[in-house]
């Protein structure tokens, strides 16, 4: 409930996590192709995080580590974090990781996030202030939403400074001033 109106927070909670049901539930359609409107005990399904969180608190399910924090991803991040396509794994990799870590009780996720961010931060920094847009467009597709925000913040402030330095019209005429008043009849 921390960021109730934050759209990024809402979208991060839309990510799917694999869960196992401990209890059978009737009258729920989780898989549209199933024949009955019920979930059996021990069924393995994928639920969005917001739903899984609530069911977990009621001890109806147990959550396992999602695919984007799999062993393979970890190895890739250890090899070269800057080149890993985190966006395709999860567009809200960091936010999602922070939310899922306490639920699955995996301390290593937080360490993974920090080490990944440390390396990718440097990459974003050098790209954001120096490189031209055409060379970075490919790099941008690898970034998660949080990293894109960071990159765009840096770009925007640099662009604003350059615009100010170049000058141009220093005074802007208020739009109301140009209009002629209608004569009163």
């Amino acid at each position: 409930m921390a960021n109730y109106y934050n759209i990024d927070d809402i979208l991060a909670e839309e990510e799917f996590v694999p869960v196992v049901f401990h209890k059978a539930a009737n009258g729920v359609v989780i898989d549209p192709s199933s024949e009955t409107n019920s979930v059996e005990q021990g069924a393995k399904v994928e639920l969005p995080l917001w739903l899984a969180q609530e069911l977990y608190l009621r001890q109806a399910i147990s959550i396992s580590v999602p695919a984007c924090f799999s062993q393979r991803t970890r190895l890739e991040i250890q090899a070269d974090a800057a080149c890993v396509d985190l966006k395709s794994r999860s567009p809200y990799f960091y936010e999602f990781g922070c939310k899922i870590a306490p639920l699955v009780g995996d301390k290593t996720i937080e360490i993974l996030l920090l080490s990944a961010f440390k390396i990718r931060y440097k990459e974003i920094l050098t790209k954001a202030y120096t490189a031209v847009f055409t060379t970075t467009s490919k790099f941008l597709t690898l970034l998660t939403k949080e990293e894109t925000n960071l990159y765009e913040a840096a770009q925007a402030s640099m662009a604003a400074f350059k615009k100010w330095r170049m000058g141009g019209p220093r005074l802007q005429r208020a739009s109301v001033l140009g209009r002629k008043r209608k004569p009163l009849d």
């Binding site: 921390a2 870590a101 440097k122 402030s157 604003a160 400074f161 208020a174």
Partner: protein, 264 residues
Amino acid sequence: MAGQSDPHISLFSAEEVEFMAEDELIEIVPNLRMDPLNFICGDFGPFLPQIATQVPFWLAVALKKRGKCAIRPPQWMSVENLTQVLERERESQGAFQVLPFHYVEISRLLFDHARDDIPDMYMVRSLIEDIRDVRIHKVETSLEKFSGTSAVKIPNLSAMEVNIIRPFVGRALQAFYKHDNPEKIPDVDRASSAQTRAANNEPRMIMAEEFYNYIQVSKRFFFFFWFAAATEEITNHFQPASDEGTSVLLETLFGESYLVPFSL
């Protein structure tokens, strides 16, 4: 708690930083006779022809625009000094040379409004641009160094340089903080988290002038109204009933465009 132009990213626009820079004092040589001016920020004058005096930058620019004074470029803005600074800036990789806090804005304002008062204008200009580019590059390399720390110290940065990196550094530090101390993330609404943040030593970037800025805006317009009223000729041009008169008043209120159509 920052500039008015964009409430989301807590950034001053370059124009807002320039506005703050205009409160710096600068020496002018007036060519008119005028009594001392008593402002909230201090008393300036009296103004006597050929007698140099210190005034805030915005007043100097306003007088300069009307051809009422010559601006004396500040001491540091000499070719010799700037060449030295540039050399030392290039030599030392880590440290930044001491320059006025608002050197980027002040030089820009001087180049815009007081071209004729600066000796070796083109040389000075290219030197300052070089210095600025070297420094910005150095800022970037020094930003590369930090990883996971909660405090960053880069002495002698100027206002504009801080302003350029502020949104990026602020967010990056916040992310570092979040991943470094996952259990400490305050679980409250952002708006009410100011106190929690202060208690947690969460990284924030603040310029001391942010708060000071709020009271600055009104006093200048007050001066321009006074300046206008003190001029007899205003009555010849300023006819509040007509269309033109209203637009003059609006311009005076809404922007920097205090160039009301009368001359002294």
